[in-house]
Amino acid sequence: MRRILAGAACAIALAVHPLAAFADEIAPADVAFDDMKVTTSLTGVPGNPEEGAKAFANRGLGNCLACHALEALSKEQFHGDVAPTLDGVADRWSPEELRAIIVDAKQVFTEETMMPGFYSLNVGLNVRKDLVGKTVLTAQQVEDVVAFLATLKE
């Protein structure tokens, strides 16, 4: 019965969004910013904090440690100091605000901030050909990183 229902729901979703393979994933250009917040989950799937910690540290993904130090990941080498430390960041920002910062920091801070947009196509000139139209993190990786940051309370 459940399976049938789910199947029906899928059929309806597909009928409504015939082109959206991942019906619930919000495309980078469609992310709605509201007063420095992104209130809607990008995927509808709750973020996984452990995966988020990995994406956070991975040099090919978030590489957040390039600029931010974080006590909780002190086992990782070489934390940068270009940006404020993220210790206790969840005391300063709500998950909705953290999502907005990660999606496109330039819409939260200033156009001049050094922080890259991780789920934004508002990028620099001459993007490497194989990366055109791609974001640094996937929608789910953003949700995972948000979930990880939300654990950082002091």
């Binding site: 040099r59 590489n63 440690l65 390039a66 600029c67 130090a69 006590e71 002190s74 086992k75 080498q77 070489f78 934390h79 940068g80 100091d81 270009v82 330039k106 001049e112 050094m114 890259p116 947009g117 508002n122 990028v123 620099g124 000139l125 001459n126 993007v127 490497r128 050909k129 990366l131 791609k134 640094v136």
Partner: protein, 286 residues
């Protein structure tokens, strides 16, 4: 066992915290550089219109060991490239049976200002010319030899040799030549334009974040006065346009070609940003 690893963990934490504290003051070092008895100008008052008050050599931002290696010409592995360049200088090549020395004799005399005064304006090509391109020009026009491929080991060695003749001389390019001022403007545009998926400009790192650490790298002003440099990382020489391209690649952008208009404009502008700093070729980097 658990207690030991806990203690080790605490020690590591303290160490890291200590590092973090030291790094929070990631200032350039207060030290002076002398190479073979020649004092280097590693801090100079910035020229008018410069975003900084003081221009700083990349040497001031490197670790003590790296700095010490550069201080001693016998220790500096980059000097091997300079020596190799000296041999090429004397070697006949091309259809005209000439070497560099056939026309320019003693490089210590004929090349003594070259490293400090390039790029210059090339009236024939109607664009700026740097040392690599001037070498190619002489090879083609005065020797009947082929131009070098970009980053050919001989190109890098000969460039290092020629620039090394200006060791200690303050960078002083003459922007009144030809249309160099226009190229300076173009280079300035490039310097402040964000590129790539990561959306950084040169200025994001070398101006706004100068003195900070990005991962393990202490960000300098991105000066050109030590090029070609010797890098421990790759155990080899790095040419200036190779470095430019590497920095652009790190923004996840397509890399412009070496000696393209874009990178020549950048070389003119970034060289000006180092006005007054001594030529340190071959500088040592990690």
């Amino acid at each position: 066992m658990e207690r030991i690893s806990l203690a080790a963990g605490t020690a590591l934490c303290l160490l890291l915290t200590g590092l973090a504290v030291e790094r929070a003051f990631g200032e350039p070092v207060d030290d002076t550089l002398e190479i073979d008895g020649v004092p280097m100008i590693t801090r100079a008052a910035a020229p008018e219109g410069h975003p900084f008050d003081e221009v700083l050599s990349g040497w001031l931002f490197r670790e003590a060991e790296t700095r010490a290696t550069q201080e001693d010409s016998f220790e500096n592995p980059g000097m091997l490239a300079v020596e190799r360049g000296g041999e090429i200088w004397e070697t006949v090549d091309g259809s005209m049976g000439k070497s560099c020395a056939s026309c320019h004799d003693d490089a210590a005399v004929s090349m003594k200002d070259v490293g400090a005064t390039y790029p210059k304006w090339d009236a024939d090509a109607q664009r700026p010319i740097n040392v690599e391109l001037q070498i190619d020009k002489c090879r083609v026009e005065n020797m009947g030899a082929e131009p070098y491929k970009f980053d050919d080991a001989e190109q890098v060695a000969l460039t290092a040799f020629v620039k090394h003749q200006s060791l200690g001389k303050p960078l002083a390019i003459d922007l009144t030549q030809g249309e160099l001022q226009t190229w300076w403007e173009k280079g300035k545009d490039v310097y402040y334009t964000r590129t790539g998926q990561l959306n950084f400009a040169c200025a994001s790192c070398h101006e706004a974040s100068m003195g900070k650490y990005i991962r393990a790298d202490h960000l300098s002003q991105g000066q050109v006065n030590g090029f070609p440099t010797y890098r421990f990382n790759t155990a080899g020489m790095v040419s200036l346009h190779n470095r430019f391209r590497g920095c652009i690649r790190d923004t996840r952008a397509e890399m412009p070609k070496a000696f393209s208009d874009e990178l020549m404009a950048l070389e003119v502008y970034v060289t000006w940003r180092g006005t007054g700093l001594s030529v340190e070729t071959p500088a040592v980097r990690q």
